[in-house]
């Protein structure tokens, strides 16, 4: 009975995986809600990352999509059908876990065959599908090994193969690269990205690593305190973060919390800065990314640029670029990242102007808003 519904669902929804989340809330006891009312639309075939610090509600949201956590209120729809009360084993979603969750008592073959056997595939079908996907994932010839006999990266691939082999309508990934070292992580990121392009399934990925999110995703949803702060394409969120939280969480930012002097002038301390007419949140905070910041002697600031006085506290050469750490007039720290050949003129202790083009600045809503 159960298996028939799954098989039908598989054939009916293989290509489609559109998710709609409507006013989703999860409250544990009388504490502040873990997820405080989120709305999100995930297009079929999209790679979306739920990004946020720990405790921001991203994993709880993923578990509600998977069906392991029951929402307090709200709804989750798959291709327009309400999933909220559907048991996890009937959702037909592939899931990859942070610790892989491979069955230690089964061989690689049996692990990957597991979802197919639940769907009453014939022995021959199971064999073909499993061996095919293992070959494709570079695991050919390892089907008789146990998970404990594989390296971390290989285990991760088995977990992915197991989550994809039954053509799920959605793939959920809960920090699947979190346990790997940096180099392996990077190569698996690249594999994951091209895998997503190959299979064309909807991927929902959870991570707290903003670089990973930027590299992999079509769309990023930034979680903060149980809410989604912003949703957008990675470049869009980076260049125009919208909130101070996103500006700080997604990369680094020089932050200037001042006030509007007039519609085209933003004042901070003693400085007056030009602004384009269309950046106008009321309680705006100005942010500049370190790589858009340049450092000049006071007299050399290019005409039309905004600038601020600063003292250089450190110059670190990182290879092709160098990082200049600054102390700003309000005592807070800032940073500029410039090509190393430009940075040679700057020394520790120099009094300089940190300057940027008007187009490089962004206005965001402050933390309290």
């Amino acid at each position: 009975m159960t298996t028939t519904t799954i098989t039908e669902a598989t054939t009916a929804t293989t290509a489609q995986g559109r998710i709609e989340i409507q006013d989703l809330v999860k409250q544990y006891g009388s504490d502040a809600p873990a997820v405080a009312g989120i709305d999100l639309a995930i297009e079929s075939g999209e790679f979306i990352t739920l990004l946020g610090p720990s405790g921001s509600g991203k994993t709880t949201t993923l578990n509600m999509i998977a069906g392991f956590v029951e929402p307090t209120s709200g709804a989750i729809l798959l291709n327009g059908n309400d999933l909220t009360r559907v048991a996890p084993h009937r959702r037909n979603f592939g899931m990859v876990f942070q610790n892989y969750a491979l069955f230690p008592h089964m061989t690689v073959f049996d692990n990957v065959a597991y979802p197919l056997r639940q769907r009453n595939k014939t022995k021959a079908e199971v064999r073909t599908l499993v061996l095919d996907i293992l070959e494709r994932f570079g695991l050919g010839g390892m089907e008789h090994r146990r998970p404990a006999q594989l390296s971390g990266g290989q285990q991760q691939r088995v977990a992915l193969a197991r989550a994809l082999v039954f053509s799920p309508s959605l793939v959920l990934l809960d920090e699947p690269l979190g346990a790997l070292d940096r180099k392996l992580r990077q190569s698996l990121q690249a594999e994951l990205k091209s895998l997503h392009q190959d299979v064309g399934l909807t991927f929902v990925f959870v991570t707290h690593d903003q670089e990973e999110a930027m590299f992999l995703s079509d769309t990023i949803a930034v979680f903060n305190n149980g809410r989604i702060d912003r949703v957008g394409r990675p470049a869009e969120l980076y260049d125009d973060p919208g909130t101070l939280f996103v500006a700080n969480f997604l990369g680094e930012a020089n932050v200037f919390a001042g006030a509007w002097a007039d519609p085209q002038t933003y004042g901070w301390q003693d400085e007056k800065w030009r602004a384009a007419t269309d950046d106008r949140p009321a309680d705006a905070v100005l942010v500049v990314r370190p790589e858009r910041m340049r450092v000049y002697p006071a007299s050399d600031v290019p005409a039309g640029w905004n600038s601020v006085g600063a003292t250089v506290t450190d110059v670190s050469r990182l290879g092709p670029v160098s990082r200049i750490d600054l102390v700003l007039p309000d005592g807070r720290v800032g940073a500029a990242v410039l090509p190393s050949n430009e940075a040679v003129r700057v020394g520790v202790g120099d009094r300089v102007r940190a300057a940027w083009e008007v187009g490089a600045q962004a206005f965001v809503v402050g933390e309290a808003a």
Binding site: A66, F103, P104, Y114, Q118, Q149, A163
Partner: protein
Amino acid sequence: MRTRPFLGVVVWLVAGFLTIPTLFLIPMSLSGGTTFQFPPDTWSLRWYENLVQASEWRDAVFVSLQVAAFATPLAVVIGTCAAFGLVRLGKRLRALGTAAFSAPLIVPNILIALALYGTFLRLGLSGTLLGLVLGQTALAVPFVLIAVLARLQGYDRSLTTAGLSLGATPATVFRTVTFPLILPGIVAGGVFAFVASFDELVIALLLQGPGNVTLPVQMFNAVVEAADPTISAASTVLVVVVSAVVLLVQFGWMNRKRQGAGGKA
């Protein structure tokens, strides 16, 4: 690993201290005389013959096997279910529940036996096989509970989650993932339960009646009444049966482990 000769010596000394007295039984049971002798003057199998032919001994062996055969599966089921329940409770409740279920290990057996005796007398269970089975089950449950609980606490719950996400029903996940992974705990618990029941004396002594005298009770009665070397033969049988069960499981298990890398210990 570094070898530690001193450790080896201590291990063998302790092992010898624990087992050598038992080993004296075997030659004594093979004595041809009617008294306990070590070493015996003459050798014979007459006491083993007596064990099989004398109806009180033969019946006692049969009763012991029967009681263990009922008490072991009963203890395994109760102990395993209890472990599953306890592992889902909060830390404090779990500790409390584990302590309650383990009480038979801590409370002196004679107290349990007296309490059972009083209760079973009223219920008409005293002197019956059922009463004996129930009493020994209570005693055996903690062995199963502790072994299964240890295994369950090492069980990664995300394996269950993974099974569900792959389309298996909760029952199928239990059958194909959870159960095989905790099976070693259940088997170990079952062996201890069997042994605990098979050689239990105090409860069996108080609950004895016609037709439910277990081997240890028969041995006790024999010592009190008229000691002859049949008791050595019976003891030897007891030791051999218990050791055989433990060793079989131990070695069978190790072989299985060697075949596959196996689960987490």
